[in-house]
């Protein structure tokens, strides 16, 4: 009798989970708000940044950048901004005096990133950005350094 009861409870919980999970997936799925983080990162081979305000990027991001084909050893965070974008929502983020990015949530995990340098559109990238993934736009800077605009989708 007891084992039957346990079995029934187990089945009930399984059933509840089976119903609740799809609902939560649908409710908080890819069509909802997209949590994003935009960072301007400076890559260099110098251990320290000449600007004391700049702090090293998170170990996780540093590891990803170091494991990529980039030649720089150290990465410093110049600016960071977190925001949420509803579907079809768009936001412009000023990364530096000369650079700004315009990000749009196209829905279905698709994101559009437009990069402006001195007010002129330099690039436009449209691609899927699943949770936890990065879209990095970068280029060479003075003294064999580099700049990166890192767009990361939060969990």
């Amino acid at each position: 009798m007891r084992s039957k009861f346990n079995k029934a409870v187990y089945l009930f919980l399984t059933g509840v989970l089976a119903f609740v999970l799809p609902l939560t997936t649908l409710a908080g799925g890819s069509d909802g708000d997209m949590k994003l983080e935009a960072k301007l990162v400076w890559g260099t081979n110098e251990k320290t940044s000449p600007d004391p305000k700049q702090k090293p990027v998170s170990p996780e991001l540093a590891e990803k950048l170091k494991n990529s084909p980039f030649k720089w050893k150290y990465y410093f965070e110049v600016k960071s901004e977190c925001f949420a974008l509803p579907k079809q929502g768009e936001k412009t983020v000023s990364m530096s005096k000369t650079c700004e990015v315009r990000i749009k949530n196209l829905g279905d995990s698709q994101v559009e990133l437009r990069l402006f340098g001195k007010g002129k559109e330099v690039s436009k990238t449209t691609q899927p950005l699943p949770k936890g993934e990065l879209l990095v736009t970068g280029g060479n800077a003075e003294n064999a350094t580099a700049w990166f605009v890192v767009l990361r989708r939060g969990e």
Binding site: A8, K97, S109, S123, T125, T126, Q127, E133, G138
Partner: protein
């Protein structure tokens, strides 16, 4: 001997003839050997039938006998079985097993659809003003890099 005479002999044997007819028939049988033979034959036949016909006698009154049969018929009629009591666990199991299977299929469908949807979505598309730029995708790191060679001043702080 005609049929009427045969029937008269049968009635004589059964004692159904009026007294005058019975007396005349007895006289006729005594005189006619065919009639005597037929009468004997009829008598033997009746005796044989009477010997082999069981005489059923009810031990009780006719009404009581049939009321017993009626009661027996009523007793043998199918009685509606009492409903089985189903336990809560069994009821839950009956509902949850198919519901769980359905939900599992639903989850699998949603996950498959979600993955297919993401995978089938438009691939990375870049419109670059810089001819020297390139796009690099690192699947392991979950990272897409768009590398520009121009303009360097974007990174000016």
């Amino acid at each position: 001997m005609n049929e009427e005479q045969q029937l008269k002999l049968q009635a004589f044997l059964d004692g159904e003839l009026p007294e005058d007819d019975a007396r005349a028939t007895a006289s006729w049988v005594a005189r006619d050997s065919d009639a005597t033979a037929l009468l004997n034959e009829l008598r033997n036949t009746r005796k044989a039938l009477a010997d082999f016909e069981p005489a059923l006698k009810l031990p009780e009154s006719r009404e009581f006998y049939w009321s017993k049969i009626e009661r027996e018929i009523q007793r043998l009629e199918p009685v509606e079985r009492p409903r089985e009591t189903v336990s809560l666990a069994a009821m839950l199991r009956r509902f949850l097993v198919p519901a769980g299977a359905l939900a599992a299929l639903l989850i699998a469908g949603i996950v498959a659809f979600h993955n297919i949807g993401v995978a089938a979505a438009a691939p990375s598309e870049a419109a670059l003003a810089d001819a020297g730029a390139f796009t690099y995708r690192d699947q392991d790191q979950g990272m897409t890099v768009v590398w520009l060679s121009y303009p360097a001043e974007i990174g000016e702080k």
